[in-house]
Subunit: 359 residues, 2 copies
């Protein structure tokens, strides 16, 4: 069946109604809509409106507080810890990033660890909030344990993404946003829908042996850290995922490692939590706390142009600068609308019925 | 031929004499010795005394200034840019890290970008300087271009390592220190010596096709970013290497990307530099700028113990916590001495002759 195409406006309107129906205050609903739709715009379909019903189910399970009192519980000139009060990560994250930006204005940099939050959508969106301020933005989050560290058969880490957004002048910004696993879970979901095999090195069976079955996680298997195996550096991917987990949760007081509560509402959070909710970590660095922004951006243009001009292997026309594909998606989808597959459409129709909102 | 084993004291004494002979002031020679030998102690033999003659050749080529005036050229409460005055990175780096630590004491965190420096040894050593202060330490550096980004046949990035050192209480600290490539160049050097093939995914030929020849770099080939190929996430390894390059050099005013001067003295630096020397980036975050250090370290112990206890695949007895192997090397080598292969011994004997120092 062909995808249904909806405009950004239509989807924003629908998502806004849903967030208002579950009790979000107007301003927080707006933040949630912006965070959520940014994923659809940037082509990361697994993290956009496809997750809307999941957020609602977490609210129904009383694991999401739709009226959180998001507040700083500890701070220094360049740092803060934020308690998300079990709010939507889509709302907590931009609030925390604003605090990082405000700290950076005064202290040069701002670093905010967040506890007691939930899934925050795509990391890149939050990191990019720094760009209009001539700042570098960073965002990371831990997530439900689906990943087995090198040599482990247990799932101890989430796909724990890192995003780094760096402004340029005439060139578009450098925006890296990636899961610290070989492949993000969303890529497995695509293979599941298409009934295709996964490349070896993405997932392992429950005994740790190689698998190409994209449904392996349902049978006790695990995602693999970036690197695929020890010989190809999966211990480095494990370092990255661990780093994200510790900055997001051990610094903030959230749950870490295997204690991170699952995103899906039908799985109960661990009975022995080691912290509150899930954790995020944000950073903002004022460029002119290092060198004049115009100088920096001149050299970023030069950096990007030089890499973009690289001689490539025969089969590929260009070297991809981090952020290029997502920006191209965003330009195209703002103009022509956002395609939704039939499963997502059915899911949103169901949500519409539940809340008596027209879809 | 069997390795020659020397004590830490013997090697420190020898290296100190060499640094003094090239004109380093006493205190800077001491810093250089400590940075350099830390690599040998931690089992990263490619970055220790094996490089001593390389540093001397850079000094002979007037690319290393043995009496640098290392100074802050720009700062904010939580940031600084340091001009290394073409000094040894082994000396410039610990100076810059001390500045980051001093900033963190006042502002909660400290972030120092360095220009006009040289190779700094192992990143982990500098990051670990934060640990006794109950701080998290970070260190990164760019390096001579040996790495082809995904789809590129040109070498545009160095192996650009990242180190993150995080204190615990009863557990040893978490110390991640890794090149952002599938394999570090040192691993290729080992295969070259043993005349063995490299696993596919470590290196590519000059046309970008797969290679298992560890000498491929001499023929225009390149190292590959962590991930090995696009399907297994090498674009993420590229993001990491690019991030290190930009933080180390575009923020500081050093050379970046293909403009980074080569480590070897027989290759001239590019004739059209875009900055000064090579660049580093350091960070220090005071734990209690986020939460009480005792609480944090209690949870780090719990984190480490839980991961250490993970059920492993049948062939492996344990999950390796980042920093475990290097710490075990350090304990063993402090006690029993540091093994040097015959090529390194010959190299040091040559140096001894040059400077009339007994080896």
């Amino acid at each position: 069946m062909a995808d249904t195409i909806l405009s950004l406006d239509q989807l924003q309107h629908f998502a806004r109604q849903v967030f208002l129906k579950i009790g979000c205050p107007q301003d927080q609903a707006e933040l949630a809509v912006t965070s959520l739709l940014r994923a659809d715009l940037r082509g990361i379909d697994s993290h956009g409106v496809a997750r809307l019903s999941g957020y609602v189910r977490l609210w129904e399970a009383k694991r999401v507080n739709s009226k959180p009192n998001i507040r700083i519980v500890h701070e220094s000139p360049s740092t803060a810890v934020v308690d998300g009060d079990a709010g939507l990560g889509l709302v907590v994250a931009p609030n925390a990033m604003e605090i990082a930006i405000a700290k950076a204005k005064v202290a040069g940099t701002g670093w905010v660890a967040v506890k007691n939050s939930n899934h925050f959508g795509i990391a890149g969106h939050h990191a990019m909030m720094a760009l209009p301020h001539d700042m570098i933005g960073m965002a990371m989050t831990n997530a439900s344990p689906l990943v087995a560290p090198t040599f482990s058969v247990e799932r101890l880490l989430g796909t724990n993404p890192i995003a780094v957004a760096i402004p340029a002048d005439k060139q578009p910004p450098f925006v890296a946003d990636f899961a610290t696993t070989t492949a993000a879970n969303g890529k497995l979901e695509i293979l599941q829908r298409k009934e295709k095999e996964a490349p070896l090195g993405w997932i392992q069976k429950k005994d740790g042996s190689a698998s190409s079955n994209p449904n392996e996680l349902k049978d006790g298997g695990a995602l693999i850290p970036l690197g695929s195996d020890r010989e190809h550096g999966s211990h480095k991917g494990f370092c990255l995922g661990a780093w994200v987990d510790i900055f997001s949760a051990v610094l903030s007081g959230a749950n870490y490692g295997p204690w991170v509560p699952p995103f899906v509402s039908f799985l109960a959070p661990p009975a022995d939590p080691v912290g509150e909710g899930i954790g995020h970590f944000f950073g903002a660095m004022r460029i002119d706390a290092f060198r004049p922004a115009s100088e920096f951006k001149y050299h970023m243009d030069n950096w990007i142009a030089r890499f973009r001009a690289a001689k490539t292997i025969e089969s590929e026309a260009r070297l991809i600068i981090p952020g290029d594909p997502e920006r191209e998606f965003e330009e195209e989808r703002r103009k022509n609308g956002i395609p939704l597959n039939e499963k997502v459409v059915a899911d949103l129709q169901e949500l519409g019925k539940k809340f008596a909102i027209e879809f």
